[in-house]
């Protein structure tokens, strides 16, 4: 065992590895269960949804719930594509800007010296644990004074100040040795080159995580649509789905549609995850962060 662990990866399956596989496979099942559950719930016909005791997997899968949901959507004034377009623009800009802004902030907080650095980082930690609901009304005043109500910026800007992302990135930048940066700057790299050529590639795993978190925050965000937007044309897809299902929540027929809507909202999360996680993992293997 101790000798084997010095090798990085075995070429083929070895019999002594079985114990890892057993534990890992058992735990992986737990991890995948909720996703299977989401799918099977959305595909369940009415009688299976209300079965007691509830059944985990669907027996007679049907697309009925999605059909019901579609017939609901055709009754509103604003076309569904408009909501989708809004959501795509907003989510895209939030993800890109959050990554850039928090990478820059993390770099500065970790490797630069300036006054109030400690205070800023501590303020960030405090903000990170602040109950988000409590800043809702003050934020509304700010959005209003800045004249951002009924603009895309009103959706995007409040979500950019994501304290968790700065925290994560800063912790990753901390792990990059100073000597590496010193060596680069002796070779004539200025701070922008340092940032782009060394810091950015090295904190890729953290940034991919930040991107996943930011995506979820923006994609599932309902609050900015409810509070800052009066114009129906500027509201998000999540908001739209929410109005559809909240109307139906208490009636029996709505349960299936709610599950279908939940699945539709969840699938982009899953796609982004599959796309980003390979980035997280690949860069982690080759990052040379040692």
């Amino acid at each position: 065992m101790s000798i084997k662990s010095t090798k990085i990866n075995p070429d083929k399956f070895h019999i002594s590895q079985w114990k890892f596989y057993v534990i890992l496979l058992a735990l992986s099942t737990f991890m995948i269960l909720p996703i299977i559950f989401m799918f099977s719930q959305a595909l369940k016909p009415m009688d299976e949804l209300f079965l007691y005791p509830p059944r985990f997997l669907v027996h007679k899968p049907t697309m009925e719930n999605f059909g019901d949901l579609m017939s609901q959507t055709s009754t509103t004034l604003v076309p569904i594509t408009r909501y989708l377009f809004n959501s795509v623009i907003i989510t895209g800009s939030v993800v890109l800007l959050t990554c850039l802004v928090s990478a820059m902030a993390g770099f500065a907080l970790s490797k630069k010296n300036f006054m109030m650095k400690k205070v800023i980082f501590e303020a960030n930690i405090i903000a990170m644990m602040f109950v988000p609901a409590a800043v809702m009304i003050p934020r509304y005043f700010i959005i209003e004074t800045l004249g951002l109500t009924d603009t895309f910026l009103g959706h995007i800007l409040p979500l950019l100040a994501l304290p968790v992302s700065v925290f994560l990135v800063k912790q990753f930048v901390d792990q990059i040795p100073d000597s590496l940066l010193d060596a680069a700057s002796i070779d004539g790299a200025n701070d922008f080159v340092l940032f782009r050529k060394i810091i950015f590639p090295m904190i890729m795993p953290a940034l991919a995580t930040v991107a996943i978190l930011a995506f979820q925050l923006a994609w599932n965000n309902i609050e900015t649509s409810v509070i800052f937007m009066n114009d129906e044309n500027l509201k998000t897809f999540a908001f739209y789905m929410n109005t559809l299902t909240s109307k139906l929540e208490n009636n029996v027929a709505g349960q299936g549609m709610a599950a279908a809507a939940g699945l539709i909202m969840f699938i982009p999360n899953l796609i982004i995850f599959i796309f980003m996680q390979s980035k997280v993992i690949n860069t982690m293997a080759h990052s040379g962060l040692k």
Binding site: S2, S5, T6, I8, N9, K12, F13, Q17, F20, Y21, L24, L27, M31, I32, P34, I35, M38, P54, V101, M104, A105, F107, A108, K112, F114, M115, A123, I126, M128, M129, F130, V131, A133, V135, I137, P138, R139, P158, L160, A161, F167, L168, D191, P205, T209, L213, Q216, N220, A238, A259, F266, F273, I274, S278, V280, I281, M284, A285, L289, K290
Partner: protein, 300 residues
């Protein structure tokens, strides 16, 4: 000196976009919510009006509100139990994935999945459908057994933890990732050296892996605590939100509640920091400082 000034300037330049956003959308709102917590806020058709009521909100929350403090204490007990479980679980998973096995990539992806599950919409849905509990626990009388032997005060949070065990595992995505990054940072040659010296895997874990992971354990403890305290399935936050739109209590009272809650989270984090700072300092004095000195001596 000029070099240092340049350093300061670029630092400020890099942080300014984030700082401006932070001041507008975090710092100021937090400040004004602090102000509101001392006021009674009315939302009227003409706009929002407020009236200064000194400490009334806090007094009511701490001594009169029938639900709030109970809810906070129960939740805190659960979190204190859950945090170590999440951190230890994610460390074990990270260690397992870091082993020389095949299909590493797939396992890593699967264990990173909780990141998409545990946030907002999905977990709410699962909760609503009752997927987060293990029915077996109740069936086999573990609940009653625990209650008899420990008394309800101690047993309740433990039972809650057992019932939510699957849920706990779903909160460990980012933590596993952080631990994996930490494990890859530990130099492989140290392991080789230890193996040549005849160290068992058990000893290697305690003497090399765990000290190497220490900074990451701290990061994970903080992350997990914050994550659990602020996620959307949290009963206390639900209560705060409810109070926000009640006519008798209103937004001012709700912000007072969130400040009390905030203070509690801060206290817990300070305790975590305190323990870790101390231990880390001692370890460094014992191990870390001696090595570089020897190295420097031999090189020069």
């Amino acid at each position: 000196m000029t070099n240092q000034r340049k350093n300061t300037l670029t630092g400020l330049l890099f942080i300014s976009p984030w700082l401006i956003g932070f001041l507008f959308f975090m710092a100021y709102p937090i400040y004004s919510s602090l102000k509101m917590s001392f006021e009674k806020v009315f939302i009227t058709p003409e706009g929002i009006q407020s009236e200064f009521v000194k400490l009334d909100n806090y007094q009511y929350a701490l001594f009169k509100d029938p639900y709030f403090m109970d809810e906070v204490f129960n939740f805190t007990k659960t979190v204190i139990l859950m945090v170590p479980i999440v951190v230890i679980f994610s460390m074990i998973v990270a260690l397992l994935i870091n082993q020389p096995i095949k299909m590493k990539g797939m396992f890593r992806a699967v264990f990173f999945l909780p990141v998409v599950i545990s946030s907002g919409a999905v977990i709410n849905e699962l909760f609503a459908q009752g997927a987060g509990t293990i029915p077996m626990v109740e069936q086999y009388g573990i609940v009653t057994m625990l209650k008899d032997s420990l008394g309800p005060g101690l047993a309740d949070p433990i039972i809650e933890v057992i019932q939510k065990f699957i849920l706990i595992l779903w909160f460990s995505g980012v933590q596993i990732l952080i631990f994996l990054a930490g494990l890859q940072k530990i130099n492989r040659s140290i392991y080789e050296a230890a193996a040549i010296d005849g160290a068992s895997p058990w000893e290697t874990f305690w003497k090399i892996t765990l000290p190497g992971l220490k900074p990451f354990i701290l990061v994970n403890l903080i992350y997990t605590t914050v994550d659990l305290f602020t996620n959307s399935v949290n009963d206390v936050i639900k209560l705060i939100k409810e109070n926000m739109f009640k006519i008798e209590t209103g937004f001012g009272y709700a912000t007072a509640l969130s400040w009390i809650y905030q203070g509690l989270i801060l206290l817990i984090l300070l305790v975590i920091f305190f323990f870790f700072r101390n231990k880390e300092g001692k370890k460094e004095r014992k191990l870390g400082y001696r090595k570089p000195r020897v190295k420097r001596g031999t090189v020069s």
